[in-house]
């Protein structure tokens, strides 16, 4: 497996009949294992649609999308669910379950793997929360955490299962400047430690520095694939 993600000639449409409208046009993109790519572009440029396709949250309609060497075009719902278990998702909102503590929320990402028993789940979640700086807040419910802390729990949840790929959509949009930068560098550090690739959609110019490469989209096409070496 040479690429984490390999996309060739990807097209996508929304709507039916006369309202049917093409969102993505002939997209080509490859991301290497461990590579950190930021996807930018104006609203409506198709970057979110691309992210949902890569995240196996939508079925591929045209072209080829290979994730970890597995073709998603024509994959069944169950195949897509299996692929999703190897991806860590970070959303604009933290989307933590309010009735669970921070640690229980992180453990939810591990309960899908029957090979991990309860003790191991607990240990892994504890270690992961310590790694995001919340070792003292394991048993806090989300309501008792600040915005930045909640997003860190979400980061811990996305990364605790050692995903090969992290997909993040505007993870800093609901945070202030300092906290946003902290969370972004946290994502970067943890992903690099684990060798995970990152595809991050953002408008936030302050966090572009974490990327190996920045890809810009406009009107459903990739317009610029500039190299941006991380220092």
């Amino acid at each position: 497996m040479t690429h984490a993600i390999e996309i060739k000639g990807l097209g996508h449409w929304f709507g039916t009949g006369e309202l049917r409208r093409q969102i993505l046009f002939d997209v080509d993109l490859t991301i290497a294992p461990g590579e950190i790519v930021i996807l930018t572009g104006p609203s409506g440029s198709g970057k979110t649609t691309l992210l949902t396709l890569i995240g196996a949250l939508r079925a591929v309609e045209q072209g080829s999308l290979t994730l970890f060497g597995r073709e998603l075009h024509g994959a069944s719902d169950n195949d897509r669910i299996a692929v999703r278990r190897r991806i860590g998702f970070i959303f604009q909102q933290h989307n933590l379950l309010g009735f669970l503590t921070a640690r229980q929320n992180v453990e939810m990402a591990l309960e899908l793997d029957p090979a991990i028993d309860a003790t191991e789940r607990r240990n892994l979640a504890t270690a992961m929360l310590a790694a995001v700086g919340l070792g003292e807040r394991l048993d806090h419910p989300p309501a008792k955490l600040s915005g930045g802390q909640k997003q860190r729990v979400a980061v811990a949840r996305a990364l605790v299962g050692n995903p090969a790929l992290v997909l993040a959509d505007e993870p800093t949009a609901s945070l202030d400047k300092v906290t946003g930068h902290e969370v972004a560098t946290l994502i970067e550090r943890l992903a690099r430690e684990r060798g995970a690739s990152i595809l991050l959609v953002t408008h936030d110019p302050r966090i572009l520095g974490i990327a190996d490469r920045i890809v810009a989209m406009e009107d459903g096409r990739i317009v610029d694939a500039a190299e941006h070496r991380h220092s």
């Binding site: 949902t52 604009q92 909102q93 989307n95 029957p114």
Partner: protein, 387 residues
């Protein structure tokens, strides 16, 4: 390794217990539904128990009944000669006529008059499956004597107390009669109280009836006779104006009368349905709100790789936990209310284990149905809309 179902129900439990006030209101809804269903079923069963109490009090292997009679509480007589004809069958040991009627009873304390059911039969026949009747046979053979049903409604007067202090004289159908003892049959929807006497005394009280017209004929068979075979022989032998039924069928037809023609069964079953609908709506509200307010969290779980089946299991676990949590206090409260209702109505309100089992099944089904409707909202949790 913990099986996924256990993890799903643990998640359900954590979600339910996170907000104790909401949990309490959901459980209260289930308890209320339980109470409604239990009370309706209790009254329903009590009605049928009491309505068939007269039929069940009559012994015999085969019952002969007029085809025009629908129920023992309103009979058309049948000629006594039919009973004599039945004796022609070689397997018939004896036939006992039973007389049923309504008379006016005067409350000895307040002088208020009220209709009361009276049962009459030969005191030596042992026809009544009621405690204390056989022992009183000797006294019932005397003129103008009778037994009073101790479970009659209190409007007939404190007869038991009066007996204890020796005041035995009462006025029935404008005749001075003597209460010589008590028996226990119970008030029913058709009769507020009962009297029991000999066939001879019965005709002294019920003047418009002759001994030639009986209400129920009780046929006793010789040992070893086949009830169904004799029943079909008698049905062929006797004219078409009567029905010949094994005793069980007689009781069942009495029950069916109240269940169908009287529409009383429908009323109570309607009450049961209303209770279940109320419970369904309350549980559905709770579950639907849970799903609707956590849509993005559920969608996140789907994005993480949780299957629809797992999330269904979470919602269903919540439903079934609510059923179990509501049933236990519902059962306890109903048991208490049954006692109160029995005292107030003089009906045999019994909370039998089989009734508790069927209510549990109904409440379980009700909660599962609420869950089934609420999970449709889960379809709105689309992880692709999360970005």
């Amino acid at each position: 390794m913990t099986p996924p179902v256990m993890l799903a129900s643990r998640l359900a439990w954590r979600q339910l217990t996170h907000q104790p006030a909401r949990l309490a209101s959901a459980v209260a809804g289930v308890v209320f539904a339980c109470l409604l269903v239990f009370m309706q079923l209790g009254f329903h069963d009590a009605l049928f128990d009491s309505a068939t109490s007269t039929a069940r009090a009559i012994r015999g292997d085969i019952i002969i009944f007029s085809r025009q009679s629908e129920t023992t509480s309103r009979t058309s007589g049948l000629p006594r000669a039919r009973l004599m004809q039945a004796l022609a069958d070689p397997d018939v040991a004896r036939v006992t006529p039973v007389y049923l009627g309504q008379v006016i009873w005067k409350n000895p304390e307040t002088a208020v008059r009220r209709s009361i059911m009276v049962l009459g039969a030969d005191p030596d026949s042992g026809i009544f499956a009621l405690e204390g009747v056989s022992a009183a046979a000797e006294r019932l053979r005397q003129r103008d004597t009778l037994l009073f049903d101790a479970q009659s409604r209190p409007e007939y007067g404190p007869i038991g107390e009066r007996l204890a202090r020796g005041a035995t004289t009462v006025e029935v159908a404008n005749r001075t009669t003597e209460v010589v003892g008590l028996f226990r049959l119970g008030a029913s929807f058709a009769a507020d109280g009962n009297l029991l006497t000999s066939d001879v005394n019965f005709h002294r009280l019920v003047r418009d009836r002759t001994p030639d017209m009986v209400d129920v004929g009780a046929v006793f068979l010789k040992a070893g006779a086949d009830v169904n075979a004799v029943q079909s022989r008698l049905a062929g032998l006797l004219p078409d104006d009567i029905r010949v039924m094994p005793r069980d069928a007689f009781i069942a037809s009495e029950r069916a009368y109240w269940a169908n023609s009287a529409a009383i069964g429908f009323i109570f079953l309607f009450g049961v349905a209303m209770g279940l609908v109320v419970g369904f709506v309350i549980v559905y509200q709770i579950l639907f709100t849970d799903v609707a307010t956590h849509l993005s969290e559920y969608a996140t779980l789907k994005a993480m790789g949780y299957t629809d089946r797992y999330l269904l299991a979470v919602v269903f676990s919540e439903a079934l936990m609510l059923a179990a949590l509501g049933f236990v206090p519902g059962l306890a409260l109903s048991w208490w209310l049954f006692g109160i209702s029995a005292e107030a109505t003089f009906l045999p309100m019994l909370l039998r284990p089989d009734m508790a089992a069927s209510v549990f099944a109904l409440i379980f089904a009700m909660c599962a149905a609420s869950g089934a409707v609420a999970v449709r909202k889960l379809r709105d949790a689309n992880p692709a809309d999360m970005f």
